[in-house]
């Protein structure tokens, strides 16, 4: 088995191993496979999941309404620990989002053909995750009704936002990220929506037609289209890196021990990709199984993702170790103390949960048997996401509860509302995702076709369709 995996050498290793589309699929059969989930009668499983998700969404709505009515005090926050679950959830969801962009943009730039059958779902996940993320900074402020002051809007007070604040950078970064990802996703969807315009009847035909924008596969269009898509990918790549970098600035640019660390940006980005891919694996395993996509979403895809998790997981583990080293090496008593107290203090349990889930468990992916076993993949990915949530919790809460002055040490306990808000955000996420898999192609049909042998105009040994 290989010892190291890099994106660059991934492709030719992978190509040696297995074709990207299995079985004797033809261009039209690919279309049919993808179309099945949208055209089949709604499975009961879908309804059950959807109702569950909806009730989760309800919980979210309820919690937020109560929060607005009573005030931020309904959370367990206090004067020492001013942020806890709210920002933890924010960073968690933004992190989840990153895998989508990574798969669609970065792997695209690296010409990783294997991305084609998973990028659509991954992008959708990105957008929905970012929506969930955007909620939290929105509702965590004390006076929601004036949150619009975050934007530079001319007003009678002649006041403007403070562009020195990382929080304001967040506002711009995350909203830009959301907009660009959505555009990227929609551009990718246009040809496929056109496909469904041409397959479906009645209202659906009208709606799909509306969003297909009159796409007619013209090659003069394809020319601009591909160029635009490439550039979007090129823009999204630095964007996705910048977003989590800036999110990490919220902490890195402060001067709290445990927050003020130059290692944060790369470490956060790695962590984001780490958790994101875990989420993609979870989602894809389910979709693949429910909608029989075995031929499009192959084990090779999962294996590649497992390897990326292994890689980023190790990077994250390295970052944890490095934090400790720097803290010790700096000779700064505050830095030293905060890390010792993370591992031994009142929140040690959270810290060790994080270490176990993020550093120890993913190492199992060195074993081929495990990274090619769907059950193992699924469970380990779940652990990774638990671990990554705890990572953010540890960074935010443990740093805040043990700051410079021992007199100001405190402890944070979540309230029921903290918990319900978090659970609710999953409700929102899955509601959106379930609607997506029901009404939009979860695999980029046009893109998959380009990686099939039939796609190559100089492929003469292929007799398909010739007369």
């Amino acid at each position: 088995m290989e010892t190291s995996v890099t994106l660059a050498n991934l492709e030719e290793r992978v190509d040696k191993r297995a074709p990207l589309v299995l079985g004797r699929e033809t261009l039209s059969s690919v279309t049919d496979i993808v179309a099945r989930p949208m055209e089949m009668a709604t499975p009961n499983a879908w309804w059950i999941c959807f109702l569950l998700a909806l009730s989760g969404l309800g919980i979210l709505g309820g919690s937020i309404a109560y929060l607005f009515w009573e005030g931020v005090g309904v959370w367990g926050l206090n004067n020492r620990v001013g942020w806890a679950w709210d920002i933890t959830n924010f960073v968690f969801w933004v992190g989840i989002g990153h895998a989508g962009t990574l798969i669609s943009a970065i792997l695209f730039l690296f010409r990783q053909k294997w991305r084609t059958s998973i990028n659509r779902a991954a992008e959708a996940m990105t957008i929905f995750a970012v929506i969930c993320a955007l909620i939290f900074p929105g509702i965590h402020v004390g006076r929601v009704w004036v949150a619009y002051w975050l934007f530079p809007i001319p007003n009678q007070m002649a006041m403007w936002p403070n562009f020195r604040s990382p929080l304001l950078w967040d506002v711009f970064a995350v909203s830009t990220y959301f907009t660009v990802s959505t555009l990227f996703w929609f551009v990718g969807l246009i040809p496929d929506i056109a496909t469904f315009r041409d397959r479906s009847k009645g209202v659906r035909k009208f709606v799909y037609g509306l969003f297909a924008l009159g796409w007619r596969g013209s090659h003069r269009h394809w020319l601009n289209y591909e160029r635009a898509y490439l550039i979007l990918a090129a823009l999204s790549t630095p964007l996705v890196l910048s977003v989590h970098t800036i999110v990490s600035f919220d902490f890195a640019t402060s001067q709290l021990p445990g927050w003020h660390a130059t290692i944060f940006p790369p470490y956060f980005v790695a962590g984001a990709i780490f958790s994101g891919f875990a989420m993609v694996i979870n989602l894809m395993i389910i979709c693949r199984w429910v909608f029989k996509l075995e031929h499009l979403v192959t084990m090779r895809h999962f294996e590649n993702m497992a390897k990326i998790i292994l890689l980023t997981g190790s990077i994250v583990g390295y970052a944890y170790a490095m934090e400790f080293f720097i803290a010790w090496y700096s000779g700064n008593p505050y830095e030293r103390y905060i890390f010792v107290s993370r591992a031994t203090g009142p929140y040690a349990w959270a810290y060790w949960t994080m270490i176990t889930c993020n550093v120890v468990i993913p190492q199992l992916f060195w074993v081929r048997k495990i990274r090619t076993n769907l059950w193992a993949l699924f469970i380990i990915s779940v652990f990774v996401n638990i671990g990554m949530w705890f990572e953010r919790f540890v960074i935010i809460v443990t740093s805040l509860h043990r700051t410079f002055l021992p007199s100001s040490w405190a402890y944070f306990r979540p309230t029921i509302i903290d918990i319900s808000t978090f659970i609710g955000s999953f409700g929102l996420f899955f509601t959106l995702f379930l609607l997506f898999i029901r009404f939009l192609p979860i695999v980029a049909i046009a893109e998959v076709k380009t990686v099939m042998p039939e796609a190559d105009p100089h492929n003469h040994d292929n007799k398909e369709g010739a007369h």
């Binding site: 009678q156 007070m157 037609g209 009159g214």
Partner: protein, 215 residues
């Protein structure tokens, strides 16, 4: 077969591309104008329990503002005169006038007259009359030509931006100390230069930092 969409739909993009910006700009302009205090607050002149006319008292009879608003030079707040001030004259003048019934009742019973507040600053903005008056800011700069108002109304937006305009460049609103209550006084026309005023002991440098007004 017939396509889903008729031919004319192809014009929609053009229309939108041209129309959207136009709509957007006009919405902004609308909000800009109609949602600003200049529109919402200026001109607020509620009916008062007693039809007291500043035009008559301050204008025609030329009473000095400070005769009634006596605390304006000493305190943050230019007090509404106590009923006894009114009665000072009106026990003789117009002693029977039905218009003044309420005043006389108040004087007898001791119940205060419930005047309606016209110039309302938000609670978190601490405005101090004494410093403005003593710096030679004419009453009219903020209150307008009260001496020409039958019913007092708000003449200026009293918004933060408006305050700052003057705090950043006070000179146009500065008048000689003895002209502060002369609402008609126009420093520009009189060619008044605060720098050269011998009666000024200090330069006027109004605060522009938050805690100047908000604390």
């Amino acid at each position: 077969m017939t396509p889903i969409f008729p031919k004319w739909t192809n014009h929609i993009p053009t229309v939108v591309a041209v129309g959207a910006p136009v709509v957007l700009v006009s919405v902004v302009l609308f909000v800009w104008y109609f949602f600003s205090p200049k529109w919402t607050d200026v001109g607020y002149s509620p009916k008062q329990p007693v039809a007291f006319s500043h035009q008559l008292h301050a204008g025609q009879m030329g009473m000095d503002c400070r005769y009634c608003h006596s605390t304006v030079e000493r305190a943050a707040f230019a007090a509404i005169p106590p009923t006894e001030t009114c009665m000072g004259c009106h026990s003789m003048v117009q002693a029977k006038s039905p218009k003044l019934q309420l005043v006389r009742d108040s004087y007898k019973t001791g119940e205060p007259i419930e005047w309606v507040k016209v110039h309302m600053l938000p609670d978190h903005a601490h405005f101090n009359h004494s410093i403005h008056v003593n710096s030679g800011v004419n009453c009219a700069s903020c209150h307008g030509r009260i001496d020409q108002m039958k019913v007092v109304g708000q003449a200026q937006p009293l918004s933060m931006g408006w305050c700052l305009e003057c705090h950043r460049n006070p000179t146009p609103n500065l008048v000689p100390k003895n002209q502060v209550t002369n609402l008609g006084y126009n420093p520009a026309k009189e060619g008044y230069d605060p720098e050269k005023d011998p009666h000024r002991l200090r330069g006027v440098n109004p605060p522009q930092h938050c805690s100047g007004c908000h604390y």
